[in-house]
């Protein structure tokens, strides 16, 4: 898609993708609070335009690595909602057979190296995949999604150095949502994140992460550079998570760590609402958008119902898959 304008079909498919993430996670959020999900869940609600904006420039042959907040990346890159839901429910039919859960969802058949419970862990994996992509010589690229908090892991700088030296087809996508857990970025992160790339000669830019088109265009430039052998790019996408760090945080935090007014201001800037508004401006009718939303609602409902009904893994399965 990278160098052309988007057709109506493409725009609607993007809308579908963002809405899928949103509805999927709203469901998860509710399930998490109801205690059905075995482990912790970190949702991506509010950041959808980043994952979808980047992944809309990719093919199944490109690689992505993700974070503890990884459902959005998984879905945007083409992972199956039902397989994801079942994994998070801990079922045998989950994409990882119930071994991984929310923080480890992966689908290698679609280039999804996976979510990662180690903050910053995906950056090095993507750099390695970028090396593989370069050796393959087929114009593939590798994307590392990570947060503003992860940008303080030194491995990010190590990766920029190697990627710059070797001109690896690597795109570092830093989703700056202003917080790492309960710490404000300003308290734990010095300077401007996108500047960190400059010293390595890695082209970098800041984009509005809640503006799909802006993310998509920047991704297009970065992907083109990568595919042309021109090396890595750093994108800082400014965005916000509308939910808490982890869905259970209200049960244990002593007090709030964000102003309600701040959350409200960002809710006004909801990336999906903004995208819908753009579509409504002469591209698609309200009915068309609603039809998509209902289609997704049905899909999510079905995925959740299936997940709840699917069998738990056979305990014996625990002893498989450690070694090839």
């Amino acid at each position: 898609m990278s160098n052309k304008n988007l057709s109506k079909d493409e725009l609607l498919s993007i809308y579908r993708s963002m809405v899928t993430i949103r509805q999927f996670e709203e469901r998860l959020s509710a399930e998490s609070k109801s205690g059905i999900l075995p482990g912790p869940v970190h949702v991506y609600i509010g950041q959808e335009a980043v994952a979808v904006g980047i992944c809309a420039q990719l093919t199944d042959d490109d690689w992505i690595t993700s974070t503890h907040r990884g459902h959005g990346h998984f879905l945007a890159k083409g992972g199956t909602p039902a397989a994801l839901m079942k994994e998070i429910y801990g079922r045998e039919t989950g994409i990882c057979g119930g071994k991984g859960g929310s923080m480890h969802v992966a689908d290698f058949s679609r280039g999804i190296i996976g979510a990662n419970g180690i903050v910053g862990g995906g950056i090095a994996l993507a750099t390695g995949a970028a090396l593989a992509a370069q050796l393959d010589g087929k114009g593939r690229c590798a994307i590392a999604f990570f947060g503003d908090g992860a940008a303080n892991q030194g491995v990010m700088c190590e990766a920029m150095n190697v990627a710059a030296l070797w001109k690896l087809p690597l795109i570092l996508v830093c989703e700056n949502n202003g917080y790492s857990e309960f710490s404000k970025a300003a308290d734990v992160t010095a300077g401007v994140l996108s500047d960190r790339a400059k010293a390595y000669g890695v082209p970098s830019e800041q984009v509005d992460g809640n503006d799909f088109m802006e993310v998509w265009r920047a991704a297009g430039r970065a992907v083109a550079r990568a595919r042309n052998g021109e090396g890595p790019t750093f994108l800082e996408a400014r965005t916000y998570r509308l939910h808490g760090h982890v869905e259970s945080e209200h049960t244990f935090l002593p007090k709030a760590y964000r102003e309600e007014s701040e959350v409200e201001a960002w809710r006004e800037r909801d990336p999906i609402k903004a995208f819908a508004a753009m579509l409504s401006d002469g591209i698609a009718s309200a009915q068309e958008l609603e039809a998509i939303e209902q289609e997704i609602a049905a899909l999510v409902e079905e995925a959740a119902a299936e997940a709840a009904a699917d069998p738990w893994p056979d305990p014996e399965a625990a002893f498989k898959h450690m070694f090839a």
């Binding site: 482990g39 119930g98 071994k99 857990e181 710490s183 625990a318 002893f319």
Partner: protein, 326 residues
């Protein structure tokens, strides 16, 4: 005496030691808001100099702990989950464990590296390891694996006052089991094991999280006339095997229960000591009840399949007490 959960016992140990000694400082990611609750309120009480939220930079943090300790402070570094000790492993392994020795004893390194360990909460492979055996093999660091809230408090207080680096690992995440904790300023002596229950038929040595289910099982079996002695070593380094060996002279039978993976586990170490120093007392094979050499899976039935629990402990004990040399 108060009834506290593990995490509350830790919190009170930190508070008391920070109040006692102004050289004690605490840092780590989100120690103000406190993901687990163990550092709750300390920022408010001791202020921004001594209680600091850090960036996510474990490689740096472990090294900073060494530098600050070498320069005169008593450092508590909270690393959240034991798996993140791997992220900051370099300075623990190459600096904290060696700097005093390499420099001919010029310095002391009073550091507590603390983290939550173990499985059972569907946190999956990257948040569920029990890595005490690696630190046992490292040399140069103490390793604390308290099994009760009272020891969690007493051992942490001892570790903070001690002049050596300590890896302090507790199971239980945000709560942990509840237990009686003395109100007074009580420390638990370093490197001293504890007979948690006397018995005559078999010796069971549970590590950390395994203490509670072992005691439950021991109680249950007592009703059937199986008399289980439970020795809690408490510290993996320095490892006190004296009570274990003494107990063996009585029972001749040993099971070690460890939530670590089997190969080179604490269970293996204790079994090896028994096979050496306790050889002439042994009446039966020495059993290890450990985690298979696997990552910890997410889904509850899978996780249950790999973790030791009361049921598996009971089965091991039954099997071993009925062992007859053939």
């Amino acid at each position: 005496m108060a009834r506290l959960r593990m995490i509350q016992a830790i919190n009170s140990a930190l508070r008391e030691e920070m109040a006692r000694d102004p050289k004690v400082i605490l840092f780590g990611e989100d120690v103000r808001m406190s993901l687990f609750g163990d550092t709750k309120g300390l920022f408010e009480e001791f202020g921004p100099d001594r209680v600091r939220d850090t960036p996510i930079s474990e490689v740096l943090l472990t090294g900073m702990a060494v530098g600050a300790a070498a320069a005169g402070y008593r450092v508590v570094l909270h690393l959240m989950y034991a798996n993140f000790l791997y992220t900051g492993f370099d300075a623990i392994a190459n600096q904290a464990a060696k700097l005093r020795y390499m420099t001919g004893g010029q310095i002391k390194l009073p550091i507590v590296f603390m983290a939550s360990c173990g499985g059972g909460r569907s946190s999956a492979a990257q948040h569920s390891d029990s890595p005490h055996p690696m630190f046992m093999n490292l040399g140069g660091v103490h390793v604390a694996t308290p099994g009760t809230p009272a020891d969690a408090k007493g051992m942490l207080k001892s570790a903070i006052r001690d002049d050596n680096p300590t890896i302090y690992l507790t199971a239980g995440g945000r709560g942990g089991s509840a237990g009686d904790v003395p109100d007074e300023d009580v420390t638990t002596p370093i490197g001293v094991s504890f007979c948690a229950r006397e018995g005559t038929d078999i010796t069971v040595v549970p590590i950390g999280s395994m203490v509670r289910p072992t005691l439950t099982v021991a109680e249950r079996l007592a009703k059937e006339g199986i008399s289980v002695e439970v020795i809690d070593p408490r510290w993996m380094v320095p490892l006190d095997t004296s009570l274990i060996l003494k107990s063996l002279t009585k029972t001749g039978r040993l099971v070690v229960v460890d939530e670590a993976r089997d190969l080179c586990s604490a269970a293996s170490q204790i079994a090896a000591v028994a096979a050496d120093q306790g050889f002439s007392d042994l009446k039966a094979p020495v059993r290890r009840l450990t985690v298979p050499d696997l990552a910890i899976p997410y889904s509850p039935p899978l996780e249950r399949a790999v973790l030791p629990d009361a049921e598996k402990i009971e089965a091991s004990i039954r099997e071993l007490v009925s062992y007859k040399a053939g």
